[in-house]
Symmetry: C3
């Protein structure tokens, strides 16, 4: 049994990895990796409404309007009591959505804030509820 503070620090390392794992999963459209990050009975509150996690994940199937994306996260602000099985992550991100060279239209730059209620499930941390806030959204013209 680890010292409670050491366990708290270790938990924070696992929590800190969540936004980074999300970034890679969503940028690569790796739906299996994405599903691992969410509680299957959780919900995701996005810019266009709230969906149960399975429906949220289904939304990534089908063609992409932007061929490439990059989700660059700032370090999350983590609220976690020692020994707790729940945590709150508040993460800022800059998201670049880029068109394929052959496609028409502007790129898109989003400034986002994700507020995640995270729970420990079988030794892993998963997102039970995510609220996504679009702080700003700007087309970036391609020369």
């Amino acid at each position: 049994m680890a010292d409670p503070t050491t366990q708290w620090l270790t938990d924070r390392e696992a929590l800190r990895a969540l936004p980074q794992r999300y970034a890679r999963a969503v940028d690569q459209r790796d739906l299996d990796a994405l599903a691992e990050l969410f509680d299957p009975v959780g919900t995701v509150e996005g810019v266009r409404g709230t969906a149960p996690v399975p429906e949220y994940l289904d939304g990534f199937r089908g063609p992409r309007a932007f061929a490439t994306s990059l989700h660059v996260f700032a370090d999350p602000l983590i609220e976690l009591e020692p020994g707790a099985d729940r945590a709150l992550l508040d993460s800022y991100a800059l998201v670049h959505q880029c068109r394929a060279a052959e496609d028409e239209g502007d790129d898109l730059l989003l400034g986002l804030r994700y507020v995640d209620e995270v729970v420990r499930r079988g030794g892993h941390w998963v997102i039970q509820h995510r609220r996504t806030e679009a702080v700003f959204s700007r087309p970036l013209p391609r020369p």
Copy 2:
């Protein structure tokens, strides 16, 4: 009494949260939250000169030229000796300043570097001296 290395790691977690708390306070113009991050007898060296903390905080009152901002920080480089009550934080940030839809003018993107001398005061870490360096500054036209 915690093991010194565990205390050092715990301190680093508190220090790492400072730029994130600053980002939320400044983006939301939450002057109470902002004031909590600074030593009241400290100073802030900005792009336009150096000010005592109260004067720096006063500068946020009044109308905003940009309706929305997002301060996206990279992880700070933290210098902290085990057991010390002083630390140095060196943080990069991309700052988007966005106009309201109805306002005229370009958005603004800043690349900033904050170098913060931080001290422990009554169990909390506060910024005693901040030096802000504008690495680059670019208008971002709105389509």
Copy 3:
């Protein structure tokens, strides 16, 4: 001898600092600081091919096309087994390359991913192999 988990956490702090130290070294063209981050017998796989570390470092000598750069890194995804002397760092970054005011041409914004194999050498962590992936690259016109 520290507790293995405490050592693991301490190692992660040192590993987390690597991208930040890289950012400052490369943005300031501090070749000595840059050389400290790489294994001298390592290799760097860039957008234009693979080079041994000394050749990679030599590539920074000579005039800069862009007067100023800012490498803003997201927190790295760190793979490290407790007690190991090898780690894997997977880091996203937004890189702004800016022209001098008097120079012609657009600025450049790069979305990069660095995958670093890192080893412990004499108590320090150094990059033995770096693979750099340009996720996107966009000219940013200057008004």
